[in-house]
């Protein structure tokens, strides 16, 4: 297999992969909102309520490590 062919396959599959990811992301966004896990629209308020002493908007948020612990 020469570099040309490799280039062709890589491009094809990577594009498909990214497109699938993008659509999956759309599904994920709406699904997680429906299930009540996340409220994305609420995040828009980060720009509005941005005083240093105001409460963080994203309260559902956890760090990756905390997340792992919760999953267990």
């Amino acid at each position: 297999m020469d570099i040309r062919e490799l280039q062709g396959y890589a491009s094809f599959f990577m594009t498909i992969f990214l497109v699938v990811m993008l659509y999956w992301y759309i599904v994920y966004l709406y699904r997680s909102e429906k299930k009540g896990d996340k409220d994305y629209e609420k995040l828009g308020n980060i720009a509005l309520d941005d005083e240093i002493d105001s409460k963080p908007i994203d309260t559902s948020s956890v760090t990756p490590r905390e997340k792992k612990e919760q999953d267990k």
Binding site: L22, Y25, E33, N45, I46, I52, D58, T63
Partner: protein
């Protein structure tokens, strides 16, 4: 880092970058106006001897506007808004304060050296990547410092979710880093030849068609990650904040982000249509340019819909006017670009004045308008005074809007006229016009463009004056305005 009552956002670095935004904006537009006038009135080429010709000044104009004005604006708005959406003050970390200040001073010194080196004619002759290797190294350092400040600030944030503006700033940082590094790869001849010749001179690592590919992969995407991505970051913060309306659809903003990231990089080869780069790349560039309309308009429509139900603000608040017009021009130029990237259109448009016309409706209408609006929004909060004059702001808005319209309409006509004349043949198949015919015919359009330049520059001076007065002598504010910026 416990928060306490006395804690405040620290704007000292944002202020410094605000000053340089104004300084470089004025310089860049002044030179731009001069070279526009030179095309209409060639005698103006001799004002500064060897250093005043169109050819020597043109890279100075582009570089000052890109790396001076726009980058300063990006840094200023970043150091202002990132603190706020992350809910953390720079003053909380001595390290971040130091990096921020160092970032500014290194940037300023580097920018001055860059200007001088271009005036003297030290250049790699690759568009928007003209700086020779020592300046490149300074730019890389500046960029690294920005990255350190950015990620350090993110590291100590209180707001765990990263607001969409931060996404765009991160993308700007990564994109420009990658593009700039690869396109500026060069070998300094002094070191490779055992110490012969000028130490500043270098040769590109790539040759011919390869160099062209890398250059326009860079050139196009420097526009993407310098003129689009960080400006979108700005509007996603400043438009909601100024209007008091949250983004129309936060989910749409996230989707357009990934769409933009994926599609933009492919479109670079549309600068090389009908050239010697392989055909499939040209087609790819063409196709992806058209696809690019989707994520661009996704963002732009999202911005406009943010104003839904609040359109009255458009008449009452000049800053909203600036930002809404900016997103409208964003829509215009992201539609115009793909049209020019269609191969048959490109055959006429390429090499003509339609291209600078396209660049300028994007830059004058979108980038500069957005940056000015952002700085106007920041000023009352940074300097704790209201904006000096609403009247001046209104006048500036209309003057500059007229200027942009004059600019791009004259360049559309000029470009299409020239493109058609180059290919016009008579009944026997001979070329109808000699080249000089296609130059002299453009004189009126060049004159109109020079006029529009003068108007826009005047508008920018009004902005600078208004800002200066706001900083120094406007009425003081007792408390920070929540949404709408107060103005007299």
């Amino acid at each position: 880092m416990q928060s306490n009552a006395a804690l405040e956002y620290d704007y000292s670095v944002a202020k410094l970058f605000t000053y340089t935004t104004i300084l470089f904006g004025f310089l860049g537009m002044l030179i731009g106006t001069l070279i526009a006038a030179q095309l209409a009135f060639p005698e103006l080429n001799y004002l500064l001897g060897e250093y005043g010709t169109f050819s020597r000044l043109r890279p100075l104009h582009t570089n000052i506007v890109i790396f001076g004005f726009t980058l300063s604006g990006v840094f200023a708005t970043f150091y202002y808004s990132a603190q706020r959406v992350l809910k953390v003050s720079m003053a909380e970390s001595k390290f971040i304060m130091f990096i921020g200040k160092f970032h500014f001073w290194l940037y300023f010194v580097g920018a001055l050296l860059g200007v001088i080196s271009l005036l003297l004619g030290y250049t790699q002759s690759k568009e928007y990547a003209q700086f020779e290797w020592p300046i490149d190294i300074v730019i890389v350092l500046v960029w690294v410092l920005w990255g350190v400040a950015m990620f350090a600030l993110i590291g100590i944030r209180r707001e765990k979710a990263l607001y969409i503006s931060i996404w765009y700033y991160i993308a700007c940082f990564l994109g420009i880093a990658m593009l700039y590094l690869f396109n500026n790869m060069s070998v300094p001849t002094y070191f490779a030849s055992g110490g012969l010749g000028n130490i500043l001179h270098s040769v590109s690592m790539y040759s011919g068609t390869n160099d062209a590919l890398v250059q326009w992969w860079y050139g196009h995407n420097a526009v993407a990650f310098g003129f689009t991505v960080p400006i979108v970051a700005m509007i996603y913060y400043f438009l909601p904040k100024e209007s008091g309306q949250a983004i129309y659809s936060y989910k749409l903003s996230l989707l357009s982000f990934w769409g933009l990231m994926f599609v933009y990089l492919w479109a670079g080869s549309h600068h090389l249509l009908w050239s010697t780069v392989p055909d499939w790349m040209q087609t790819m560039g063409s196709v992806f340019s058209v696809v690019l309309i989707l994520p661009s308009w996704g963002s732009a429509i999202n911005m406009l819909l943010t104003m839904k139900g609040e359109w009255n603000q458009l008449t009452e608040n000049p800053l909203i006017k600036f930002m809404v017009l900016a997103s409208t021009f964003y829509m215009l130029s992201t539609l115009e670009g793909p049209i020019q990237a269609i191969k048959s259109v490109n055959a006429i448009a390429h090499f003509t004045d339609w291209i600078p016309g396209h660049v300028h409706d994007g830059v004058l209408g979108w980038v500069v308008f957005m940056i000015m609006a952002a700085l106007f929004h920041m000023a009352p909060r940074m300097f704790k005074r209201e904006i000096y004059s609403k009247k001046l702001l209104e006048a500036q808005f209309w003057l500059q809007t007229t200027a942009v319209v004059l600019y791009f309409t004259s360049m559309w006509i000029a470009g299409i006229t020239q493109g058609m004349m180059w290919r016009a043949v008579d009944e026997y198949g001979n070329l109808m016009y000699s080249f000089i015919d296609t130059v002299t015919v453009l004189h009126p359009y060049y004159a109109i463009r020079a006029l529009s330049g003068v108007m826009y520059l005047t508008g920018f001076l009004m902005f600078a004056y208004n800002m200066y007065k706001t900083m120094t002598s406007s009425r003081e504010l007792t408390e920070e305005p929540q949404f709408r910026s107060p103005m007299a």
